[in-house]
């Protein structure tokens, strides 16, 4: 009996350790977004059981803690544009062998297939998402808001405005609403007068602002009538419209697009398996597959071709292209956020914005 017990114990220990070894820990944002990654990447992977998704709240705090303490338990992290760059600069992410990634069906190498310039060799393309204004159908009686200027116009469109507690995208939107051309936004923002101008625009909605810091909040605020319009992540609005038939209307004007990348932790415990999964997750097919479950735009241009041909592409039989933030029709009135600008001025503008909120 004792011997038997010993053997089973030993066997279970071995089983546990091998299982732990084979597992790739991928850290992402949770909710519908992680679900879409699980369906598009994990379920289509050759060994779905080896992939383990973990939720986090973003930022490089935990990443830096793990790398600095040498106790790395994560393998892959889903990061924002700024983090993708800082993480690589600070050596928190591994530089990857770009030749191993799969080219597009027409043979274009992956890095040339990405819709923005590749910032460094650490990051692997994921999706585009955006900050975009929206409202509930029926909120406004006569004229409906159609431009970003309408969002800042509380006289024409009365009611409170839901905005987030950090300045990203708001500065860009304020300038667009003030008549700055899309291509000049960052030029204007790089001057002190430009920032003043943005804050003057923000002042117009200040007394009507309700602040949110978690992605589900703006939808609640608009749904409950607490605010008449809000900025939100386009994926959240799309999910409510596509899956729950919510009566939301997105204003596709003056949105600010942000990149989303995957990076591999420096000293990741399962480097080779993680690389293999990254290659799988970044193929054109995987990227298109993800759009079946969430309306974030694939970063690889070639994935759009598959989606367009496959419409209605969304998993419940609805068209997805009209909810994609980076579809060609809306790009002329969209700003792609400049992580470089935010890396330089994010701290100082962030402080000013916090002070502005608290005044």
């Amino acid at each position: 009996m004792k011997v038997l017990l010993k053997h089973t114990l030993l066997a279970s220990v071995v089983a546990v350790t091998t299982a732990a070894q084979a597992e790739v820990n991928i850290v992402s944002w949770g909710g519908a977004y992680t679900a879409s990654q699980q369906k598009a990447y994990q379920d289509t992977y050759k060994d779905p059981g080896s992939i383990n998704f973990i939720n986090y709240n973003g930022g490089l705090g935990e990443v830096r803690t793990q790398v600095e303490s040498g106790n790395v338990t994560w393998d892959i992290v889903d990061v924002l544009p700024h983090e993708g760059r800082v993480g690589c600069d600070e050596g928190l992410f591994e530089e990857l062998d770009r030749s191993r990634f799969a080219p597009a069906p027409d043979g274009t190498p992956m890095d040339d297939d990405i819709m923005v310039e590749l910032p460094n060799d650490c990051v692997v393309p994921q999706i585009f998402w955006s900050y975009v204004p929206f409202y509930k159908a029926g909120t406004f009686k006569d004229a409906q808001p159609t431009t970003i200027a309408d969002f800042f116009n509380v006289k024409k469109f009365p009611g409170k405005r839901g905005i987030h507690t950090w300045p990203n995208a708001l500065i860009e939107m304020a300038l667009l609403a003030d008549g700055v051309a899309v291509k000049d936004v960052y030029k204007v923002m790089s001057t002190p007068e430009g920032i003043d101008r943005a804050f003057m625009m923000l002042d117009k909605i200040k007394d009507h602002a309700v602040f949110w810091s978690s992605g589900a909040k703006p939808l609640e605020l608009v749904q409950s009538g607490e605010v008449s319009m809000a900025l939100a992540y386009n994926g959240r609005i799309g999910a409510a419209i596509l899956s729950e038939d919510a009566p939301f209307v997105t204003v596709w004007d003056g949105q600010v697009l942000e990149e989303e990348w995957l990076g591999m932790m420096k000293g990741a415990p399962n480097k080779e398996a993680a690389m293999d999964f990254l290659i799988h997750a970044s193929t054109t097919q995987s990227q298109a597959e993800q759009a079946k479950y969430i309306n974030y735009g694939p970063m690889r241009a070639s994935a759009f071709e598959i989606i367009k041909k496959g419409e209605p592409w969304f998993h419940n039989g609805k068209n997805i292209m009209e909810h994609m933030p980076n579809r060609p029709e809306v790009m002329p009135r969209s700003v792609v956020a400049s992580p470089e600008w935010w890396a330089d001025y994010g701290d100082s503008v962030g402080e000013r914005y916090t002070a502005w909120m608290g005044q």
């Binding site: 930022g59 490089l60 800082v86 690589c88 600069d89 600070e90 001025y345 402080e351 502005w356 608290g358």
Partner: protein
Amino acid sequence: MSTAPATVDGPLLTADGVPLKESLQISLRRSKMRALLLVLPPLLFLIFLFVIPIGNMLTRSVDDNLINDVLPNTFAAFETWDKKSEPTEAMFEAFYKDLRDADRTDIGKASVRMNYANPGWRSLIKRTARKIDKMEPPYKEAFLKADDRWLDQDFWRSLGIMKDRVTFGYYLNAVDLDYDYDKNIIQQDEERKVYNLLWWRTIKVSIIVTIACLLLAYPVSYLLATLPMRIANLLMICVLMPFWTSLLVRIVAWMIMLQQNGVVNDTLVAAGVLSDENRLSMMYNFNGTIIVMTQILLPFMILPIYSVMKTIPPSYMKAAQNLGATPTLAFIRVYMPQTIPGIGAGCILVFIVAIGYYITPELVGGKDGRLIGNMVAYHMQRSLNWGLAAAMGTILLCVILVFYWVYDKIIGIDNMKMG
């Protein structure tokens, strides 16, 4: 020195021939070792979880070593510059050498640090470092070709802020001050001043919450301590139930109650007390933070006060009234002074927890309910300015120690009773 009695030759010996003194020392040492072994686990626990992290935090808040290790030549060349004329070729050459020799990730970290001194350093260094391998003298031209901002003297002059290995810049930033390029202390730009406001608000919120908790907890504790056991137990469960419920659940419950279209407002409007346009704003502002924090921290006040009240014999009150005091006077002069240890413990507990609070303000604080804890979390997780976060953490620690000291002076820490 041995001071053995004169009648014995040499020192006193034990049965096995070892001098008594030595043998005594050995056995003493042994019991000391044993005692040390016994306290070792909590000692190690303290060292690893308190001493090292707090020491780490203290050093981070003043540490400016990295940049000096990465740019030694640059700082040497900077010292020879008159800070008025155009940057010299020697300075560019020194910068070139430093960028060439340094580890790429160290350059990345240094540029993040430099960006705090003058926004723009980050992209400037990055663009230049990308071309560093192909650069040839004269370096001034090569640098200007990489980025024309290199002529901007503000960048060069900002090196003056970082040239020492120990900096108090983070502490200055944490109280809305800053260094100018010559390391004189100046006021932070008016529109970037946030922290002083948040410090005062944090202390204000902590004090208001502590007082509110005390006012609510005192009668409840009194009831708990004086009611018959059966009812008191039921009441105790009512106190403890929320304590056991998840923090988030309680916060969300408050949101549902207090928001503009929430239960309270709806009821008031339906009852005709309020008109539909004048709904009260009780959530996502300062009030929301106070209300929710008070409810969440209330048990921390009730429990210590209750445990002290429980030990006060009811006969004291009777005796006081027998001696001619009115019930009010007896309560104030006899009962209340005896509850002070509990009040003190409760107030200290609530205040210390409140001053570092950030989850509740984050969720219900909106724009004017955010506290300093939120900024610490922001700088730890988002901006990665750990130096500034560490400086704010250290200041928080000092504030708590000051309050603790004041408490000790006024009431005496020996009087505190946690339960």
